[in-house]
Amino acid sequence: MTIRLPAFDYLTPETLEDAAQLLADPERSVVVVGGGTDVVPKMKRRQITPEVLVSLSRIESLHGIRIDESGACTIGASTTLAEIHDSTVVPEVFAAAAGDVASPQIRNSATVGGNLCLDTRCNYIDMSDSWRQASGYCLKDGGDTCWVAPRSNKCWAISSSDLATVAVALGGSVRLTSVRGERLIPIEALYNNDGMSYLTCAADEILVELVLPRGNGRATYRKLRRRGSIDFPLLGVAISARFDDAGMCVFARIVLGGIASAPLRAIEAEEFIVGRQLTDEVLEEAARLATQPARPQDNTDTGSRYRKWMVSVFVERALGDVAGDRA
């Protein structure tokens, strides 16, 4: 049986100003759509039923990748993941991670703006409407209980964007626009560790572009998933680090994705490795420290204990990637 989309008005503004105006509609529920590879399935499952969809696809200025004098790479929100994967100017780790998202067909439609703003996911909500109705709508779905943690008053749905994790590790920033004006914020500040209000920006703000600073260190991304071909991350570990000539770590960012409602920095592990050479012992201790902020729940594929264990395994391997040839 075909699952039909619910009715909505589809608007295709040609300028950012017009799009911002349309999103500020006080009368109707409006959702912005990039490639639609997340919005469309969610609407088919009646997780969201906006009255208006504002498509960004006809706004020319949102397409494309450029490098400025400082060497920073700016990626327009409507750039597709396939374009990013094929790009030779995007930081290598980001281009590679774009190629790890979903499937080839989805990457041809999916945009970087949509990926960075991807809704949080959970076993109890990414289900058909009849399933959810039978089990009782959860907190994120308009009900009053989170079925993952019924005693908590917060939603535990998981941040599942691969590129968010990498962009935080690379120290990226995002430019946001609305009728109230424009602002540039560190991408880390875009995310909120709450499955329902997982973005800190207002609902009518448009992510215009992602700015990745020129990298002068090493970076890696490792993704845990059941099928290599097409799965959301059960865990993503992104690390960027710099070393001095003696091989001592002078800067590190270790970011965990797929484990909380926002990409999570493993601050203790970061602080531990700075000022040290990445010997096997240091890697092992850093990996142990990195598991501390991780509180995976049983709300995706594979169990929470397994995923917590995998944090240490993946962080150790990822640190090995950036450590390169070490003593």
């Binding site: 075909t2 699952i3 039909r4 989309l5 619910p6 009715a7 909505f8 008005d9 589809y10 295709t12 759509v33 639609g36 590879t37 469309v40 399935p41 088919k44 499952r45 969809l53 498509s55 696809s57 396939a82 979903a102 499937s103 080839p104 067909q105 989805i106 041809n108 439609s109 290599g228 071909s229 097409i230």
Partner: protein, 158 residues
């Protein structure tokens, strides 16, 4: 919710179709244009049965809002054969038994055609990566990968 006239080119033929905003490309192809070669599987982006080319790139027609591709050109499995002669991929799939129930086959053929247009001599790993978004519940994939490589070799005149 209003009706719009969608202008799309499908397999080289120009069409004008009256659509509502919530119509997907898959619905337009199968229900408005009667092109039922493109299959309807999961409806939510997971299986690849609905794969078509939009402006030469494979996408999932179940996830595409039809108005999003207004003005584009679309190719479906019906457009693979030329002058009644099947595409080399179709011949290779038939010869090697790469289709069992056949439900995934149109999507496989479209993804494979796009892969070979970009890369005429793919390794098995490259074929696997190119078909990563197409699920098959029957064949175990081996014959599909073999058929794509056979068609590629014939395409190169081997």
């Amino acid at each position: 919710m209003a009706d719009h006239i969608l202008a799309i080119d499908v397999n080289g033929d120009r069409h004008r179709v009256l659509v509502t905003d919530q119509r997907t490309l898959l619905e337009v192809l199968r229900e408005d244009l009667g092109l039922t070669g493109t299959k309807h599987g999961c409806d939510v982006g997971e299986c690849g049965a609905c794969t078509v080319l939009v402006d030469d790139k494979p996408v999932l027609s179940c996830l595409v809002i039809a108005r999003q591709v207004d003005g584009s050109s679309v190719q479906t499995v019906e457009g693979l054969a030329h002058d009644g002669k099947p595409d080399l991929l179709q011949e290779a799939f038939a010869e090697l038994g790469a289709a069992q129930c056949g439900y995934c086959t149109p999507g496989m053929l479209i993804s494979a055609r796009s892969l070979l247009d970009d890369n005429p001599d793919p390794t098995t790993e490259e074929v696997q990566a190119g078909l990563a978004g197409n699920l098959c519940r029957c064949t175990g994939y081996i014959k599909i990968f073999d058929a794509v490589r056979l068609a590629a070799a014939r395409d190169r005149g081997l």
